[in-house]
Symmetry: C2
Subunit: 299 residues, 2 copies
């Protein structure tokens, strides 16, 4: 069983009926579980989260993109968030660390099918990128829907990975990728010293030479300060590692950790990893979790 997740972003956040129709297309695939939907009117964009076996998720992703291409006209679209396609980004996410290659394979298959059957050119990004320069989504999307046509005409290096080197007239282009699940993880300090939270955030984040796959900011809350963290690959830097990195620096300043919180969802694999570290349970595996076994029998 290869249980994966897909978190596509569609360029529609104001017309609920359009979002409903896209979700209905995805949810119509047997074995697909739609777990979450978020629409933002200012961004004019919606994020759908669904999961299931890899083949079901691949089919669901294709049908969602097909509905978006049919229902969204980017020539009429404006919003605060950068976008180049009606179905703007379609990342596939493994729920177990070892399943990234399966997600890359799904991304490539679904991307080829989108280009072939829908006439929408596709770029592969992050782990599904076919070259280093395509890993970064912002670079792929530069110029957005309005500028991409000219960029492709001007620069052969901007040609899509799949499909004709011409954007779809109303649906633009789609970025299809594979990435690790993002864990949004915040650590509160028993302090109101914003400078301390900012210093710790700087010390632990990758951008400033800290922990790999870690983004972090120092924030002031009502009654304490917080190191707000995105773990972009928990297999590389875990919650436990981030916690300890913050704790050691806070204690140096005489400050204790008040608590931490996971925002939104995380894969069970991250908890299994925590048990391995916290209990030195080196061989503990997700297959030993009862609910995972039940899920296995149902999928």
């Amino acid at each position: 069983m290869t249980l994966i997740e897909c978190v596509p972003n569609f360029s529609e956040g104001r017309r609920p009926d359009v979002v409903d129709a896209i979700i209905a297309a995805i949810a119509g695939v047997p074995g697909v579980s739609v777990l979450d939907r978020q629409s933002d009117g200012v961004h004019n964009r919606s994020v759908i989260t669904f999961a299931g076996q890899d083949d079901a998720v691949a089919e669901g992703a294709f049908r969602g993109v097909e509905a978006a291409v049919r229902l969204i006209d980017l020539t009429q679209h404006e919003g605060a968030h950068p976008r180049m396609g009606a179905a703007d980004v379609v990342p596939f996410v493994p729920l177990k660390g070892q399943d990234m290659p399966a997600c890359v394979a799904v991304a490539h298959a679904v991307g080829a099918r989108i280009a072939r059957e829908l006439g929408v050119p596709v770029y592969f990004y992050e782990e599904a990128a076919r070259g280093e320069e395509r890993r970064n989504l912002a670079a792929v999307r530069e110029g957005q829907f309005e500028g991409l046509r000219a960029a492709i005409a001007r620069d052969p290096d901007r040609a899509p990975d799949e499909g004709a080197p011409a954007v779809h007239p109303t649906a633009g282009a789609t970025a299809v990728g594979a990435r690790a699940p993002l864990i949004a993880y915040n650590i509160d300090l028993s302090s109101r010293d914003l400078g301390l939270a900012q210093d710790i955030a700087r010390a632990i984040r990758e951008r400033d030479g800290g922990l790999p796959k870690v983004k972090a900011l120092g924030l002031a809350l009502d009654d304490c300060v917080q190191v707000s963290i995105n773990l972009t690959d928990y297999r590389v830097t875990s919650m436990q590692t981030a916690f300890e990195a913050v704790q050691v620096r806070a204690l140096e300043a005489g400050v204790e950790i008040r608590g931490s919180e996971v925002v939104g969802l995380l894969p069970q694999d991250a908890l299994v990893g925590l048990a391995r570290v916290a209990l030195l349970a080196h061989d503990f595996s997700a297959a030993q979790v009862l609910e995972a076994r039940i899920l296995d029998t149902l999928l």
Copy 2:
């Protein structure tokens, strides 16, 4: 959704076709996932593990008992393990800490149905017991199949909780209960000092005044010693607490923990609890685990 588990023990461990038939009766209920089966020829006994929504599990348990009553004749049964019924014990187990009352309710309903429809008297034990003296399974089962008839005739206090005060001629009586999931958890010490492992086991186990809901033994393995633990209610004493209790005593003797292992399955809830403790993530909940959300949509 109330996801629960049932771990019935049947008095047949030598005829695989009989065990197959009992499992088929259980697995025939939609929504039931059969997760494990273990048969022991010396004990002449089989343990089946299955799970699902509470109503499906209740139906599966009844059908399994019905098949056992039809297929097993205790007048012809001998084995090393004490038993009083064809379906000997039927414990219902919550997968989330807060669902124990639901398991008690299922135990009472299934027990009443077994007595009424199958003519097998039922005793409620552990959390489902209707009096303190019935909590302990060994006390309920004293005299076993062969002695129970006389014990009931002699002593009104031995009358069953449901059904006529007379054992079924071939199927005996059944103990139906509710209990927390048992976690089998072993901690290896970097030492070959069996006395140390035994001392630590004695210090941490409930029987000798240690941690509540903890059973423990010191064992010698090939290349180290082990504190072998049963956590009979992880909500009362968690893996983390047991680990720390062993670690502090080992370190006093200058010995480090080499590692730990979970034997068999544990509920995801135990991992969620671990995250709360290890990361001070006080509000973290099982509903934030992606696989739990998928399971919710499937059940």
